[in-house]
Protein backbone atom coordinates (compact mmCIF):
# COMPACT_ATOMS: atom_id res chain seq x y z
CA UNK A 1 0.00 0.00 0.00
CA UNK A 2 1.48 3.40 -0.94
CA UNK A 3 2.02 5.88 1.86
CA UNK A 4 0.09 9.16 2.00
CA UNK A 5 3.33 10.96 1.16
CA UNK A 6 3.84 8.83 -1.97
CA UNK A 7 0.26 9.33 -3.15
CA UNK A 8 0.42 13.10 -2.70
CA UNK A 9 3.80 13.48 -4.43
CA UNK A 10 2.51 11.38 -7.35
CA UNK A 11 -0.63 13.53 -7.72
CA UNK A 12 1.41 16.71 -7.42
CA UNK A 13 3.66 15.50 -10.28
CA UNK A 14 0.58 14.61 -12.28
CA UNK A 15 -1.10 17.99 -11.79
CA UNK A 16 1.94 20.25 -12.14
CA UNK A 17 4.40 18.35 -14.34
CA UNK A 18 1.75 16.29 -16.20
CA UNK A 19 3.65 13.15 -15.22
CA UNK A 20 0.60 11.10 -14.27
CA UNK A 21 1.58 7.44 -14.62
CA UNK A 22 2.32 6.71 -10.98
CA UNK A 23 -0.73 8.66 -9.78
CA UNK A 24 -3.01 6.84 -12.24
CA UNK A 25 -1.92 3.50 -10.79
CA UNK A 26 -3.35 4.49 -7.39
CA UNK A 27 -6.79 5.46 -8.75
CA UNK A 28 -9.87 3.29 -9.38
CA UNK A 29 -11.05 3.11 -12.99
CA UNK A 30 -14.76 2.96 -12.11
CA UNK A 31 -15.99 3.82 -15.62
CA UNK A 32 -13.60 6.69 -16.32
CA UNK A 33 -9.85 6.56 -16.95
CA UNK A 34 -7.77 7.75 -13.96
CA UNK A 35 -5.99 10.17 -16.30
CA UNK A 36 -9.31 11.83 -17.13
CA UNK A 37 -10.19 12.02 -13.43
CA UNK A 38 -6.82 13.66 -12.67
CA UNK A 39 -7.40 16.06 -15.53
CA UNK A 40 -10.52 17.45 -13.79
CA UNK A 41 -8.37 18.45 -10.82
CA UNK A 42 -5.59 19.79 -13.07
CA UNK A 43 -8.11 21.98 -14.90
CA UNK A 44 -9.53 23.37 -11.66
CA UNK A 45 -6.04 24.03 -10.33
CA UNK A 46 -4.79 25.80 -13.46
CA UNK A 47 -8.08 27.70 -13.69
CA UNK A 48 -7.84 28.99 -10.12
CA UNK A 49 -4.20 30.03 -10.53
CA UNK A 50 -4.90 31.71 -13.88
CA UNK A 51 -7.65 33.74 -12.22
CA UNK A 52 -5.22 34.72 -9.45
CA UNK A 53 -2.74 35.92 -12.10
CA UNK A 54 -5.45 37.72 -14.07
CA UNK A 55 -6.53 39.60 -10.93
CA UNK A 56 -2.95 40.78 -10.38
CA UNK A 57 -2.23 41.50 -14.06
CA UNK A 58 -5.46 42.90 -15.59
CA UNK A 59 -3.69 45.25 -18.05
CA UNK A 60 -1.35 42.48 -19.25
CA UNK A 61 -4.46 40.32 -19.74
CA UNK A 62 -6.10 43.00 -21.90
CA UNK A 63 -2.92 43.72 -23.86
CA UNK A 64 -2.32 40.13 -24.94
CA UNK A 65 -5.91 38.84 -24.94
CA UNK A 66 -7.52 36.04 -22.94
CA UNK A 67 -6.27 33.15 -25.07
CA UNK A 68 -2.63 34.28 -25.12
CA UNK A 69 -2.77 35.07 -21.39
CA UNK A 70 -4.15 31.62 -20.57
CA UNK A 71 -1.41 29.94 -22.67
CA UNK A 72 1.35 31.98 -21.02
CA UNK A 73 -0.13 31.42 -17.54
CA UNK A 74 -0.25 27.66 -18.11
CA UNK A 75 3.48 27.56 -18.88
CA UNK A 76 4.30 29.94 -16.02
CA UNK A 77 2.27 27.87 -13.51
CA UNK A 78 4.17 24.73 -14.52
CA UNK A 79 7.57 26.36 -14.06
CA UNK A 80 6.71 28.56 -11.07
CA UNK A 81 3.86 26.94 -9.11
CA UNK A 82 2.76 28.73 -5.92
CA UNK A 83 4.68 27.94 -2.75
CA UNK A 84 1.91 28.90 -0.34
CA UNK A 85 -1.87 29.04 -0.12
CA UNK A 86 -1.77 32.81 0.25
CA UNK A 87 -2.44 33.50 -3.43
CA UNK A 88 -2.25 37.30 -3.04
CA UNK A 89 1.50 36.66 -3.00
CA UNK A 90 1.47 34.46 -6.10
CA UNK A 91 2.88 35.75 -9.37
CA UNK A 92 5.88 37.89 -8.34
CA UNK A 93 7.99 36.11 -10.98
CA UNK A 94 5.48 36.63 -13.81
CA UNK A 95 7.08 39.89 -15.12
CA UNK A 96 10.49 38.19 -15.45
CA UNK A 97 8.81 35.22 -17.11
CA UNK A 98 7.11 37.53 -19.64
CA UNK A 99 10.42 39.33 -20.31
CA UNK A 100 11.89 36.02 -21.45
CA UNK A 101 8.76 34.67 -23.16
CA UNK A 102 9.57 34.81 -26.87
CA UNK A 103 5.95 34.79 -28.18
CA UNK A 104 5.48 38.12 -26.34
CA UNK A 105 8.74 39.66 -27.63
CA UNK A 106 6.94 42.01 -30.05
CA UNK A 107 5.34 43.83 -27.08
CA UNK A 108 8.56 45.30 -25.71
CA UNK A 109 6.78 47.15 -22.89
CA UNK A 110 4.78 44.12 -21.67
CA UNK A 111 7.13 43.08 -18.86
CA UNK A 112 7.38 46.73 -17.74
CA UNK A 113 3.58 46.96 -17.48
CA UNK A 114 3.65 43.63 -15.59
CA UNK A 115 6.25 44.98 -13.13
CA UNK A 116 4.05 48.00 -12.48
CA UNK A 117 0.99 45.78 -11.98
CA UNK A 118 2.86 43.57 -9.51
CA UNK A 119 3.83 46.67 -7.48
CA UNK A 120 0.18 47.77 -7.57
CA UNK A 121 -1.03 44.34 -6.50
CA UNK A 122 1.47 44.27 -3.63
CA UNK A 123 0.29 47.72 -2.59
CA UNK A 124 -3.35 46.64 -2.71
CA UNK A 125 -2.77 43.70 -0.34
CA UNK A 126 -0.08 45.23 1.91
CA UNK A 127 -0.82 45.20 5.63
CA UNK A 128 -2.35 48.31 7.16
CA UNK A 129 0.04 50.65 8.99
CA UNK A 130 -0.44 54.10 10.51
CA UNK A 131 1.63 56.94 9.03
CA UNK A 132 4.49 58.38 11.07
CA UNK A 133 3.35 61.32 13.15
CA UNK A 134 5.81 64.13 12.38
CA UNK A 135 5.80 65.33 15.97
CA UNK A 136 7.51 62.04 16.87
CA UNK A 137 10.45 63.08 14.72
CA UNK A 138 11.17 66.06 16.95
CA UNK A 139 11.84 63.65 19.78
CA UNK A 140 15.11 63.08 17.98
CA UNK A 141 17.35 66.13 18.55
CA UNK A 142 18.28 68.20 15.52
CA UNK A 143 21.82 66.85 15.76
CA UNK A 144 20.46 63.37 15.20
CA UNK A 145 18.36 64.15 12.11
CA UNK A 146 21.06 62.97 9.75
CA UNK A 147 20.99 59.56 11.40
CA UNK A 148 17.27 59.01 10.89
CA UNK A 149 16.44 55.80 9.02
CA UNK A 150 12.81 55.74 7.88
CA UNK A 151 10.53 52.70 7.83
CA UNK A 152 8.49 52.92 4.60
CA UNK A 153 4.79 52.08 4.43
CA UNK A 154 4.50 48.42 3.33
CA UNK A 155 2.49 49.45 0.26
CA UNK A 156 5.33 51.59 -1.20
CA UNK A 157 6.96 50.33 -4.40
CA UNK A 158 9.35 51.77 -6.98
CA UNK A 159 9.40 50.99 -10.67
CA UNK A 160 11.80 52.20 -13.35
CA UNK A 161 10.82 51.39 -16.93
CA UNK A 162 12.14 52.18 -20.41
CA UNK A 163 8.60 52.86 -21.68
CA UNK A 164 5.72 55.02 -20.35
CA UNK A 165 4.14 51.95 -18.69
CA UNK A 166 2.01 54.08 -16.33
CA UNK A 167 0.31 55.78 -19.29
CA UNK A 168 -0.10 52.42 -21.06
CA UNK A 169 -1.57 50.84 -17.88
CA UNK A 170 -4.10 53.66 -17.45
CA UNK A 171 -5.15 53.69 -21.10
CA UNK A 172 -5.52 49.91 -21.26
CA UNK A 173 -7.62 49.62 -18.10
CA UNK A 174 -9.78 52.57 -19.14
CA UNK A 175 -10.08 51.00 -22.62
CA UNK A 176 -9.22 54.47 -23.91
CA UNK A 177 -8.07 53.90 -27.49
CA UNK A 178 -7.40 57.61 -28.07
CA UNK A 179 -5.12 57.81 -25.04
CA UNK A 180 -3.40 54.59 -26.12
CA UNK A 181 -2.82 55.97 -29.64
CA UNK A 182 -1.37 59.18 -28.21
CA UNK A 183 1.33 57.38 -26.22
CA UNK A 184 4.82 57.96 -27.58
CA UNK A 185 6.76 54.75 -26.94
CA UNK A 186 9.97 56.64 -27.69
CA UNK A 187 9.38 59.27 -25.00
CA UNK A 188 12.10 57.80 -22.81
CA UNK A 189 12.28 56.08 -19.42
CA UNK A 190 9.94 56.76 -16.50
CA UNK A 191 10.47 56.64 -12.74
CA UNK A 192 7.37 55.62 -10.80
CA UNK A 193 6.25 55.51 -7.18
CA UNK A 194 3.39 53.17 -6.22
CA UNK A 195 1.42 53.56 -2.99
CA UNK A 196 -1.92 52.69 -1.43
CA UNK A 197 -3.81 55.79 -0.36
CA UNK A 198 -7.15 56.08 1.44
CA UNK A 199 -8.80 56.35 -1.98
CA UNK A 200 -7.09 53.30 -3.45
CA UNK A 201 -3.85 52.24 -5.07
CA UNK A 202 -2.07 54.82 -7.19
CA UNK A 203 1.01 55.28 -9.34
CA UNK A 204 2.85 58.58 -9.57
CA UNK A 205 5.50 59.65 -12.05
CA UNK A 206 8.40 61.44 -10.36
CA UNK A 207 11.78 62.75 -11.53
CA UNK A 208 14.81 60.48 -11.66
CA UNK A 209 16.43 62.46 -8.82
CA UNK A 210 13.34 62.28 -6.59
CA UNK A 211 13.04 58.57 -7.36
CA UNK A 212 16.66 57.87 -6.37
CA UNK A 213 16.29 59.89 -3.16
CA UNK A 214 13.04 58.10 -2.24
CA UNK A 215 14.41 54.63 -3.00
CA UNK A 216 17.46 55.39 -0.82
CA UNK A 217 15.27 56.59 2.06
CA UNK A 218 13.01 53.56 1.74
CA UNK A 219 15.81 51.03 1.58
CA UNK A 220 17.36 51.87 4.95
CA UNK A 221 19.84 54.61 4.06
CA UNK A 222 20.14 57.29 6.78
CA UNK A 223 18.75 60.72 5.89
CA UNK A 224 22.11 62.53 5.68
CA UNK A 225 23.63 59.89 3.41
CA UNK A 226 20.55 60.05 1.16
CA UNK A 227 20.76 63.87 1.08
CA UNK A 228 24.46 63.71 0.17
CA UNK A 229 23.53 61.62 -2.87
CA UNK A 230 20.89 64.11 -4.01
CA UNK A 231 22.46 67.58 -4.22
CA UNK A 232 20.19 70.37 -5.43
CA UNK A 233 17.01 68.30 -5.06
CA UNK A 234 15.08 70.69 -2.82
CA UNK A 235 14.97 67.93 -0.26
CA UNK A 236 12.90 69.85 2.32
CA UNK A 237 9.96 70.11 -0.06
CA UNK A 238 10.33 66.54 -1.25
CA UNK A 239 10.48 65.22 2.34
CA UNK A 240 7.43 67.27 3.31
CA UNK A 241 5.61 65.63 0.39
CA UNK A 242 6.57 62.16 1.64
CA UNK A 243 5.29 62.99 5.13
CA UNK A 244 2.06 64.49 3.85
CA UNK A 245 1.40 61.35 1.78
CA UNK A 246 2.07 59.08 4.76
CA UNK A 247 4.92 57.22 3.10
CA UNK A 248 6.80 56.54 6.34
CA UNK A 249 5.39 54.62 9.29
CA UNK A 250 8.32 54.87 11.71
CA UNK A 251 12.00 55.56 12.08
CA UNK A 252 15.08 54.56 14.02
CA UNK A 253 18.41 56.28 14.54
CA UNK A 254 21.40 54.75 12.84
CA UNK A 255 23.96 53.81 15.45
CA UNK A 256 27.44 55.24 14.88
CA UNK A 257 29.69 52.77 13.04
Amino acid sequence: MPTLFEVQRALQRSLVERDGEEAAAYILFDGLAPGARLHIYRNTSIGALTIALRLSYPAVHRLVGAEFFYGAAKIFIKTEPPRSAHLDEYGAAFPDFLAGFSPAASLAYLSGVARLEWALSRALHAPDAAALDMSRLFVAGAADHGRIVFVPHPSIGFIQADYPVDAIWRAVLAQDDAAMAAIDLGSGPVWLLVQRLETGVDVMRISKREWRFATQLCSGRPLQAALDMAPGLGAATVLAGHFAAGRFIGYRLETAP
Partner: protein, 296 residues
Protein backbone atom coordinates in the same frame (compact mmCIF):
# COMPACT_ATOMS: atom_id res chain seq x y z
CA UNK B 1 -10.89 17.40 27.45
CA UNK B 2 -13.40 17.78 24.63
CA UNK B 3 -16.57 18.11 26.67
CA UNK B 4 -16.47 21.90 26.84
CA UNK B 5 -16.57 22.17 23.09
CA UNK B 6 -20.04 20.68 22.83
CA UNK B 7 -21.43 23.78 24.51
CA UNK B 8 -20.27 25.90 21.56
CA UNK B 9 -22.80 24.14 19.38
CA UNK B 10 -25.53 25.99 21.24
CA UNK B 11 -24.42 29.12 19.32
CA UNK B 12 -26.02 27.87 16.19
CA UNK B 13 -29.46 28.48 17.68
CA UNK B 14 -28.74 32.09 18.50
CA UNK B 15 -26.09 33.91 16.44
CA UNK B 16 -26.55 31.64 13.47
CA UNK B 17 -30.30 31.39 13.73
CA UNK B 18 -31.04 31.55 10.02
CA UNK B 19 -29.41 30.95 6.66
CA UNK B 20 -26.38 33.03 5.66
CA UNK B 21 -24.66 33.52 2.33
CA UNK B 22 -21.06 33.37 1.15
CA UNK B 23 -19.77 36.95 0.84
CA UNK B 24 -17.63 37.80 -2.19
CA UNK B 25 -15.83 41.08 -2.96
CA UNK B 26 -18.36 42.18 -5.58
CA UNK B 27 -21.10 42.30 -2.92
CA UNK B 28 -19.17 44.17 -0.21
CA UNK B 29 -20.58 47.57 -1.08
CA UNK B 30 -24.14 46.31 -1.63
CA UNK B 31 -24.10 44.67 1.80
CA UNK B 32 -22.69 47.79 3.51
CA UNK B 33 -25.24 50.04 1.75
CA UNK B 34 -28.39 47.90 1.87
CA UNK B 35 -27.86 45.87 5.07
CA UNK B 36 -29.79 42.81 3.84
CA UNK B 37 -31.86 40.94 6.45
CA UNK B 38 -29.54 38.01 7.14
CA UNK B 39 -27.93 36.94 10.42
CA UNK B 40 -24.47 36.09 9.06
CA UNK B 41 -21.99 35.89 6.20
CA UNK B 42 -19.20 33.46 5.46
CA UNK B 43 -15.95 34.61 3.86
CA UNK B 44 -12.88 32.82 2.55
CA UNK B 45 -10.18 33.33 5.17
CA UNK B 46 -7.50 33.61 2.48
CA UNK B 47 -9.16 36.72 0.99
CA UNK B 48 -8.54 38.78 4.13
CA UNK B 49 -4.91 38.02 4.93
CA UNK B 50 -3.65 41.42 3.74
CA UNK B 51 -4.75 44.95 4.58
CA UNK B 52 -6.51 47.73 2.70
CA UNK B 53 -10.08 47.99 1.44
CA UNK B 54 -11.08 44.30 1.72
CA UNK B 55 -10.39 44.17 5.44
CA UNK B 56 -11.86 47.64 6.03
CA UNK B 57 -15.10 46.51 4.36
CA UNK B 58 -15.21 43.36 6.48
CA UNK B 59 -14.69 45.45 9.64
CA UNK B 60 -17.76 47.47 8.65
CA UNK B 61 -19.84 44.41 7.75
CA UNK B 62 -19.06 42.53 10.93
CA UNK B 63 -20.51 45.33 13.03
CA UNK B 64 -23.94 44.19 11.79
CA UNK B 65 -23.42 40.51 11.04
CA UNK B 66 -21.85 37.40 12.52
CA UNK B 67 -18.97 36.17 10.35
CA UNK B 68 -17.80 32.65 9.62
CA UNK B 69 -14.23 32.13 8.36
CA UNK B 70 -14.02 29.36 5.77
CA UNK B 71 -10.46 28.41 4.81
CA UNK B 72 -9.44 26.76 1.56
CA UNK B 73 -5.66 26.64 1.94
CA UNK B 74 -4.64 24.94 5.18
CA UNK B 75 -4.33 21.47 3.63
CA UNK B 76 -5.33 19.47 6.73
CA UNK B 77 -4.49 16.22 4.93
CA UNK B 78 -0.89 16.99 3.91
CA UNK B 79 1.51 14.16 4.77
CA UNK B 80 4.27 16.74 5.08
CA UNK B 81 2.63 18.76 7.87
CA UNK B 82 0.82 22.09 8.11
CA UNK B 83 2.39 25.32 6.88
CA UNK B 84 3.06 27.23 10.13
CA UNK B 85 3.01 30.56 8.27
CA UNK B 86 -0.47 29.84 6.94
CA UNK B 87 -1.69 28.80 10.37
CA UNK B 88 -0.33 32.09 11.75
CA UNK B 89 -2.13 34.05 9.01
CA UNK B 90 -5.43 32.32 9.88
CA UNK B 91 -4.94 33.20 13.56
CA UNK B 92 -4.29 36.85 12.62
CA UNK B 93 -7.51 37.03 10.59
CA UNK B 94 -9.47 35.25 13.36
CA UNK B 95 -8.18 37.68 15.99
CA UNK B 96 -9.22 40.61 13.83
CA UNK B 97 -12.62 39.28 12.69
CA UNK B 98 -13.68 37.39 15.86
CA UNK B 99 -15.66 34.85 13.80
CA UNK B 100 -18.57 32.77 15.08
CA UNK B 101 -17.21 29.75 13.20
CA UNK B 102 -13.88 28.71 11.67
CA UNK B 103 -13.87 25.91 9.11
CA UNK B 104 -11.60 24.00 6.73
CA UNK B 105 -11.82 20.94 4.45
CA UNK B 106 -11.25 17.21 4.60
CA UNK B 107 -8.71 17.35 1.78
CA UNK B 108 -5.15 18.27 0.92
CA UNK B 109 -3.65 20.94 -1.37
CA UNK B 110 0.08 21.03 -0.65
CA UNK B 111 2.80 18.50 -1.49
CA UNK B 112 6.52 19.02 -1.93
CA UNK B 113 6.08 22.68 -0.99
CA UNK B 114 3.75 23.29 -3.95
CA UNK B 115 0.21 24.63 -3.41
CA UNK B 116 -2.15 23.00 -5.92
CA UNK B 117 -5.04 25.48 -5.53
CA UNK B 118 -7.69 22.77 -5.34
CA UNK B 119 -9.21 20.55 -2.65
CA UNK B 120 -7.78 17.13 -3.44
CA UNK B 121 -9.27 13.91 -2.04
CA UNK B 122 -7.44 11.76 0.48
CA UNK B 123 -6.89 8.03 0.32
CA UNK B 124 -9.22 6.98 3.12
CA UNK B 125 -6.80 4.93 5.21
CA UNK B 126 -5.87 4.70 8.90
CA UNK B 127 -2.66 6.59 8.06
CA UNK B 128 -4.61 9.47 6.47
CA UNK B 129 -7.08 9.54 9.38
CA UNK B 130 -4.20 9.76 11.89
CA UNK B 131 -2.63 12.56 9.81
CA UNK B 132 -5.82 14.63 9.59
CA UNK B 133 -6.54 14.08 13.32
CA UNK B 134 -3.03 15.31 14.19
CA UNK B 135 -3.48 18.42 12.06
CA UNK B 136 -6.98 19.19 13.35
CA UNK B 137 -5.62 18.89 16.92
CA UNK B 138 -2.72 21.18 16.01
CA UNK B 139 -5.06 23.74 14.41
CA UNK B 140 -7.57 23.73 17.28
CA UNK B 141 -4.75 24.12 19.82
CA UNK B 142 -3.13 26.92 17.84
CA UNK B 143 -6.37 28.84 17.25
CA UNK B 144 -7.59 27.97 20.79
CA UNK B 145 -11.02 27.05 19.45
CA UNK B 146 -12.99 24.30 17.81
CA UNK B 147 -12.93 24.15 14.02
CA UNK B 148 -15.39 22.59 11.59
CA UNK B 149 -14.22 20.22 8.87
CA UNK B 150 -16.13 19.97 5.59
CA UNK B 151 -16.68 16.88 3.45
CA UNK B 152 -15.40 17.47 -0.11
CA UNK B 153 -16.85 16.81 -3.55
CA UNK B 154 -14.66 14.29 -5.33
CA UNK B 155 -14.08 12.94 -8.81
CA UNK B 156 -11.75 10.05 -8.04
CA UNK B 157 -11.22 7.33 -5.47
CA UNK B 158 -8.04 5.54 -4.49
CA UNK B 159 -7.64 1.78 -4.88
CA UNK B 160 -6.33 1.42 -1.35
CA UNK B 161 -9.03 3.43 0.46
CA UNK B 162 -10.36 1.26 3.30
CA UNK B 163 -12.72 3.54 5.24
CA UNK B 164 -15.99 4.96 3.86
CA UNK B 165 -15.80 8.77 3.79
CA UNK B 166 -18.75 9.11 6.23
CA UNK B 167 -17.04 6.84 8.76
CA UNK B 168 -13.76 8.73 8.27
CA UNK B 169 -15.49 12.04 9.02
CA UNK B 170 -17.37 10.65 12.03
CA UNK B 171 -14.14 9.19 13.46
CA UNK B 172 -12.37 12.53 12.93
CA UNK B 173 -15.06 14.33 14.93
CA UNK B 174 -14.92 11.79 17.76
CA UNK B 175 -11.12 11.73 17.98
CA UNK B 176 -10.47 15.49 17.76
CA UNK B 177 -13.68 17.07 19.04
CA UNK B 178 -13.94 19.04 15.82
CA UNK B 179 -17.38 19.78 14.40
CA UNK B 180 -18.54 18.69 10.97
CA UNK B 181 -19.45 21.15 8.24
CA UNK B 182 -21.90 18.99 6.35
CA UNK B 183 -21.91 20.11 2.72
CA UNK B 184 -25.15 18.57 1.46
CA UNK B 185 -24.37 19.45 -2.16
CA UNK B 186 -20.98 17.74 -1.86
CA UNK B 187 -22.62 14.59 -0.47
CA UNK B 188 -25.05 14.65 -3.41
CA UNK B 189 -22.24 15.18 -5.95
CA UNK B 190 -19.86 12.57 -4.52
CA UNK B 191 -22.65 10.03 -4.02
CA UNK B 192 -23.70 10.45 -7.66
CA UNK B 193 -20.10 10.27 -8.91
CA UNK B 194 -19.14 7.21 -6.89
CA UNK B 195 -22.42 5.31 -6.57
CA UNK B 196 -22.77 5.93 -2.83
CA UNK B 197 -26.10 6.16 -0.99
CA UNK B 198 -26.48 9.75 0.19
CA UNK B 199 -28.91 8.56 2.90
CA UNK B 200 -26.29 6.15 4.25
CA UNK B 201 -23.78 9.03 4.33
CA UNK B 202 -26.14 11.25 6.36
CA UNK B 203 -27.11 8.40 8.68
CA UNK B 204 -23.47 7.77 9.62
CA UNK B 205 -22.74 11.35 10.71
CA UNK B 206 -23.18 12.04 14.45
CA UNK B 207 -25.95 14.72 14.75
CA UNK B 208 -24.30 16.30 17.80
CA UNK B 209 -21.17 17.07 15.73
CA UNK B 210 -22.92 18.89 12.88
CA UNK B 211 -22.15 22.60 13.29
CA UNK B 212 -22.99 23.98 9.86
CA UNK B 213 -24.52 22.97 6.53
CA UNK B 214 -23.44 24.18 3.08
CA UNK B 215 -25.72 24.35 0.05
CA UNK B 216 -24.64 25.22 -3.50
CA UNK B 217 -25.29 24.56 -7.15
CA UNK B 218 -23.30 22.12 -9.25
CA UNK B 219 -23.04 21.29 -12.93
CA UNK B 220 -23.54 18.02 -14.79
CA UNK B 221 -21.00 16.92 -17.38
CA UNK B 222 -21.80 14.22 -19.94
CA UNK B 223 -18.69 12.23 -20.77
CA UNK B 224 -17.90 9.93 -23.66
CA UNK B 225 -19.41 6.50 -23.18
CA UNK B 226 -22.58 7.80 -21.54
CA UNK B 227 -20.99 8.47 -18.15
CA UNK B 228 -22.27 11.43 -16.18
CA UNK B 229 -20.07 13.36 -13.77
CA UNK B 230 -21.33 16.01 -11.39
CA UNK B 231 -18.93 18.94 -10.86
CA UNK B 232 -19.13 21.06 -7.73
CA UNK B 233 -18.63 24.46 -9.36
CA UNK B 234 -20.84 26.68 -7.11
CA UNK B 235 -22.13 28.47 -10.19
CA UNK B 236 -25.93 28.04 -10.12
CA UNK B 237 -28.97 27.62 -7.89
CA UNK B 238 -29.33 24.64 -5.55
CA UNK B 239 -31.05 21.81 -7.45
CA UNK B 240 -34.29 20.13 -6.21
CA UNK B 241 -32.50 16.88 -5.32
CA UNK B 242 -30.12 18.77 -3.04
CA UNK B 243 -33.02 20.64 -1.36
CA UNK B 244 -34.61 17.24 -0.70
CA UNK B 245 -31.36 15.91 0.78
CA UNK B 246 -31.13 19.10 2.87
CA UNK B 247 -34.61 18.43 4.19
CA UNK B 248 -33.52 14.88 5.11
CA UNK B 249 -30.41 16.28 6.80
CA UNK B 250 -32.46 18.71 8.92
CA UNK B 251 -34.83 15.91 9.90
CA UNK B 252 -31.85 13.99 11.20
CA UNK B 253 -29.70 16.81 12.62
CA UNK B 254 -32.31 19.38 13.67
CA UNK B 255 -31.99 23.03 12.60
CA UNK B 256 -28.35 23.81 11.74
CA UNK B 257 -26.74 27.08 10.59
CA UNK B 258 -26.97 26.88 6.81
CA UNK B 259 -24.97 28.70 4.14
CA UNK B 260 -25.62 29.39 0.45
CA UNK B 261 -22.33 29.25 -1.51
CA UNK B 262 -21.92 30.76 -4.98
CA UNK B 263 -18.39 31.27 -6.33
CA UNK B 264 -18.43 31.26 -10.14
CA UNK B 265 -20.62 33.57 -12.25
CA UNK B 266 -21.62 35.22 -8.96
CA UNK B 267 -25.16 36.63 -9.41
CA UNK B 268 -26.67 39.80 -7.91
CA UNK B 269 -27.05 39.70 -4.13
CA UNK B 270 -30.87 39.39 -4.48
CA UNK B 271 -30.52 35.90 -5.99
CA UNK B 272 -28.40 34.78 -3.03
CA UNK B 273 -30.94 36.26 -0.60
CA UNK B 274 -33.66 34.37 -2.43
CA UNK B 275 -31.78 31.08 -2.01
CA UNK B 276 -31.20 31.90 1.66
CA UNK B 277 -34.94 32.57 2.11
CA UNK B 278 -35.64 29.15 0.63
CA UNK B 279 -33.23 27.55 3.12
CA UNK B 280 -34.94 29.50 5.91
CA UNK B 281 -38.30 27.96 5.04
CA UNK B 282 -36.74 24.51 5.56
CA UNK B 283 -35.13 25.67 8.81
CA UNK B 284 -38.49 26.98 10.05
CA UNK B 285 -40.08 23.62 9.37
CA UNK B 286 -37.25 21.82 11.12
CA UNK B 287 -37.70 24.09 14.14
CA UNK B 288 -41.39 23.47 14.35
CA UNK B 289 -40.77 19.78 13.90
CA UNK B 290 -42.86 19.38 10.79
CA UNK B 291 -41.56 17.53 7.79
CA UNK B 292 -41.22 19.87 4.86
CA UNK B 293 -42.55 17.88 1.98
CA UNK B 294 -44.33 20.47 -0.13
CA UNK B 295 -41.45 22.81 -0.99
CA UNK B 296 -39.56 20.45 -3.28
Amino acid sequence: MRAGRCAERAERGSILAGAGVGLRFRHHQAVIDSKPPLPWFEVHTENYMGGGAALRDLDAIRRDYAISLHGVGLSLGSAEGLDPDHLARILRVAERVEPALVSEHLSWSISGGVYLADLLPLPLTEEALATVCRHVDQTQNFLRRQILVENPSSYLRFRHSMIPEWEFLAALAVRTGCAILCDVNNIYVSAANHGWQASEYLAALPPSAIGEIHLAGHSVRQLDGGLTLRIDDHGSRVIPGVWQLYSDALSRFGPVATLIEWDTNVPPLEILLDEAARANSFLESARSGFAHADAV
